[in-house]
């Protein structure tokens, strides 16, 4: 291993490491614009110049691999002078519009100009200006500010797999732009804003609405999909201004999907900010006691068997635990957290987890996708699959929707019969899986939320077993969830008790009159028209489908407004933190259930967050270990039987609008108008 000295400190690094990377490891800061640790090295900004002994000129440290015995100086008069020169050139054409630039206060150029810039300019000619580009409803461009670092071009091509950006022309005329007629519509496009070191690409929906130093930052976890990416919610007063990713190498590295980032305007729209009670067929504003009284009145004299509850996609674990206890006290066993009716088996944890783990999927060398389009179901995960494919190759095949996944794969078809063929060893792709060191499969909710879901789940298990996906050191059987609530609900047992009704039976019961009172915990994606005369109590944050059908509305908190527990698709217990307060009279959901239970005379025994969390741990000890992962036991699951002919599809038909928050978001509506459902770039070359 080469040993080198940087500023008098010695370090051993792997061959191929660059000087800048070695310096980073020592904590020696070298300024940079074009270099980014997750992108290919470009070496075009020259800000990272350092002196190397015996080399006549300063060298670009980001592009220079270390050599044994190298002696590097990062802070000499020559280095400073060279960087000042680079800075002076960068500023030649950069506008002096920091006071009106959204990047102000968090701009690399601004920061580094503090260290290397001059307080006056020697440049007296006219500055170059560039026309702005149309990057769609998410990204505002101010191309005159662009310093041509090419980070955005590299991200679009390498990470997102949508090579639509490029630099046209040369020298002073170089313009970074998108290809004529293409949209910048990768589901990961918001990351371009974070990567751009200057204010050339900024957050369009939040344009001119904040100065970065006014914002309060709350580190929390995303609940807009099943991954649970690490995020930072920036708020001012009681308003969420923007959402940014935080680094979590285990889940999202440092990326975030566009829905998770940009749907935040939906947190302010269509909000339920006070209770409502339906009077003479009309929802009328009510007080909390009135709403509770209406529920209590309806429940009087009802058998437990006439009461049921369904939890939606963003229900938190605390609320589900409280509701489960309340229903038990009322004598009901009819509860389900699978509002889409997915055939997830709560008794075998391995059957509903992403067992390889999200980071672990990068080890997979062969992959079968079943009824899923990871690009719209979990774009950040899809970026990992692409990364694996780019860096080490990935023999991938898909049974289900035909889509451009940004990595090469064989589309085998969309017939469930293919799964039978694979399970019975009659399909050639099984040999590919068997030959792989770390074979894996990903089964989506599109394959499970169907009448034959349990059969397909069983077939997937057989494929996993016969391909050697499940062993001591590796479990490549992966279920991809799109709902943040799902795994938590299964883990704490928000599923029918013995003889209880599941989602389908609850809805049938409501239609037939057997179920008379139905609690919906933010469940908006069920067939509201099929609920017959049931008395519906909706606890949730938005005036979406459930609220429209409700007889009583109890206003709850969105994921940015509560300290809540979610379990992600790989089974990791994570906690959100409250960034802002719920609007109006809305309350944290579990507290609503707690208050209601008291009115109903069945007080659930928790008065504090600690107590309800203790109850969670008591329901499943896993809840006591946030952040960690535990390998789930492999036991038989799935049901034998016939598959039906319906083609396998993704559970989502659009990326941008999937839940009450994103449906309320005008930004997401603008994305649908501009981009359609996602996955669209037509002239992006081959992924071959």
């Amino acid at each position: 291993m080469p040993k080198l000295t940087i500023d008098g400190r010695e370090i051993d690094v792997e061959p191929g490491t660059t000087i800048l990377q070695a310096a980073d490891r020592l904590g020696i800061e070298i300024p940079r614009f074009c270099y980014h640790e997750r992108l290919a090295i470009a070496g075009n900004c020259r800000m990272c110049l350092v002196e190397v002994e015996k080399v006549p000129k300063p060298v670009a440290s980001c592009a220079m691999p270390v050599a044994d015995g190298m002696v590097v100086q990062t802070n000499t008069p020559v280095v400073r002078k060279a960087r000042q020169g680079v800075m002076e050139f960068l500023l030649v054409n950069h506008p002096l519009d920091c006071p009106i630039c959204d990047q102000g206060g968090e701009c690399d150029l601004q920061d580094q100009a503090m260290a290397y810039g001059s307080d006056r300019s020697r440049y007296e000619e006219t500055k170059r200006a560039q026309p702005d580009k149309d990057y769609g409803p998410l990204i505002a461009t101010h191309m005159t500010r662009c310093i041509q670092c090419t980070r955005c071009i590299r991200f679009a091509a390498e990470i997102a797999g949508t090579p639509v950006l490029g630099g046209l022309g040369r020298g002073e005329h170089l313009e970074v732009t998108r290809y004529v007629g293409e949209t910048v519509s990768s589901e990961l496009s918001g990351n371009l804003i974070d990567l751009c070191p200057v204010g050339a690409l900024t957050n369009k929906p939040a344009s001119f609405r904040y100065r970065s130093w006014e914002l309060r930052r709350t580190e929390t976890v995303d609940a807009m999909d099943g991954l649970g990416a690490a995020i930072r919610v920036d708020s001012r007063g009681n308003e969420v201004i923007r959402v940014l990713p935080r680094i979590n190498e285990d889940i999202n590295e440092e990326w975030l999907g566009d829905r998770s980032r940009f749907a935040c305007d939906g947190l302010k729209r269509q909000r339920l900010d006070r209770p409502y009670v339906r009077k003479d067929g009309k929802l009328t504003p009510a007080t909390w006691p009135e709403a509770f009284a209406a529920i209590a009145a309806r429940l009087t004299g009802l058998e437990g068997s006439a009461i049921a509850a369904i939890a939606g996609d963003q229900a938190d674990a605390e609320t589900m635990a409280a509701t489960k206890d309340l229903l038990a006290a009322l004598g009901s066993l009819h509860l389900d957290c699978r509002q889409d009716g997915a055939a997830l088996d709560p008794t075998v944890r391995a059957s509903y987890l992403f067992n390889s783990t999200i980071a672990g999927i990068e080890q997979a060398d062969a992959l079968l996708l079943i009824g899923t389009n990871p690009r719209i179901e979990a774009p950040v995960l899809n970026a990992r699959l692409r990364k694996r494919w780019l860096e080490h190759g990935l023999a991938a095949a898909a049974i289900g929707p035909k889509a451009d996944l940004t990595f090469a794969h064989d589309w085998l078809g969309d017939s469930p019969a293919l799964l039978t063929e694979l399970a019975e060893g009659r399909h050639p792709f099984l040999a590919t899986l068997k030959a792989a060191k770390h074979p894996a499969l990903i089964i989506g909710q599109g394959a499970l939320a169907r009448d034959d879901g349990a059969v397909l789940l069983g077939l997937a298990r057989r494929i996993a077993e016969s391909a050697g996906m499940v062993r001591e050191d590796w479990n490549g059987f992966n279920v991809l969830h799109t709902a943040a609530a799902r795994v938590g609900g299964l883990d704490l047992g928000f599923v029918p008790g013995p003889g209880g009704r599941d989602t389908k039976a609850i809805i049938a019961g409501a239609a037939s009159g057997a179920v008379k009172v139905l609690f919906l915990l933010g469940a908006d994606e069920i067939e509201m028209g099929a609920l017959g005369d049931a008395f519906v109590v909706y606890l949730g944050s938005h005036g979406d489908a459930g609220a429209h059908r409700a007889d009583v509305i109890l206003p709850g908190a969105a994921y940015t407004e509560k300290d809540a527990t979610y379990v992600n698709t790989e089974g990791r217990v994570q906690r959100t933190r409250r960034a802002v307060f719920p609007p109006g009279e809305a309350k944290e959901d579990w507290r609503v259930i707690r208050a209601l239970s008291e009115v109903l005379g069945h007080t659930v025994p928790f008065d504090s967050l600690d107590q309800i969390r203790a109850r969670l741990t008591n329901l499943n000890p896993l809840f006591g270990h946030p952040g960690s992962l535990e390998r789930a036991l492999w036991e038989p699951f799935g049901r034998p039987g016939a598959t039906d002919d319906r083609p396998l599809a993704s559970i989502l038909d659009s990326y941008y609008m999937t839940d009450p928050i994103s449906r309320a978001s005008t930004t997401m509506a603008a994305c649908v108008a501009a981009f359609g459902g996602g996955c669209n770039h037509h002239k992006a070359g081959h992924h071959a």
């Binding site: 639509v164 490029g166 046209l168 022309g169 313009e175 290809y179 992006a684 070359g685």
Partner: protein, 202 residues
């Protein structure tokens, strides 16, 4: 970098160019076909006189590249024309050595003879005038390049003569217009002039 109003809807290589394109692609190892992008752009330009968007997309498709990546190459090199040019593309060098040696007069002569300015094409579609950066022949400055040929050591009169000859359909002599051989010293040899030195070496 806007499109030309003349952008055609489609582009296809002629059988002959397609054959050549295949040969260019075959020069590079499998998986490295992208290396053929420059010769292919040149082929397209030789066929059509310029590189249209349709040609960019056709080449991108042949090489498995994104069109933007081909366009980056096509716009980086000034030798690729992103707009149609006349039959004779007159590229005049106005960089420092040429300027010191009289390129201003050469430029004026072109303007006068053809009646067009930089970036323009004659009404008969025969000539287009462009300004070029150093053409790498400073030793014979001032220089203009017309299609694949260089005309050097120009002055106003010789420039007019060359252009008029082309206009008449003749083929003027290329290279130095003052008669010197390639870039030999203009006034005859300046070294190895004494016979003694020559014999000593022999």
């Amino acid at each position: 970098m806007s499109d030309s109003p003349a952008e055609p809807a489609a582009f296809a290589f002629t059988a002959e160019s397609a054959e050549q394109a295949r040969a260019f692609i075959a020069r590079y190892p499998i998986g490295r076909q992208q290396s053929a992008v420059m010769p292919l752009l040149d082929l397209a330009q030789r066929q059509e006189g310029w590189v249209s968007r349709a040609a960019i997309e056709a080449i991108a498709d042949m090489l498995g590249m994104a069109p933007i990546q081909v366009e980056e190459v096509a716009t980086f090199y000034t030798m690729y024309n992103r707009r149609p040019v006349g039959r004779f593309h007159v590229q005049i060098c106005t960089n420092l050595p040429c300027m010191l040696r009289g390129s201003d007069a050469v430029l004026d002569s072109v303007r006068e003879t053809l009646g067009i300015g930089i970036g323009e094409t004659t009404a008969d579609g025969l000539f287009t005038l462009s300004e070029a950066e150093c053409l790498g022949a400073c030793v014979n400055a001032p220089v203009i390049q017309i299609n694949d040929d260089y005309y050097e050591d120009l002055d106003a009169a010789s420039t007019r003569a060359v252009l008029e000859a082309l206009g008449r359909g003749e083929t003027p002599k290329t290279g130095s217009q003052t008669g010197r051989q390639t870039s030999c010293p203009a006034g005859g040899p300046t070294t190895l002039t004494s016979p003694a030195a020559a014999t000593e070496r022999a």
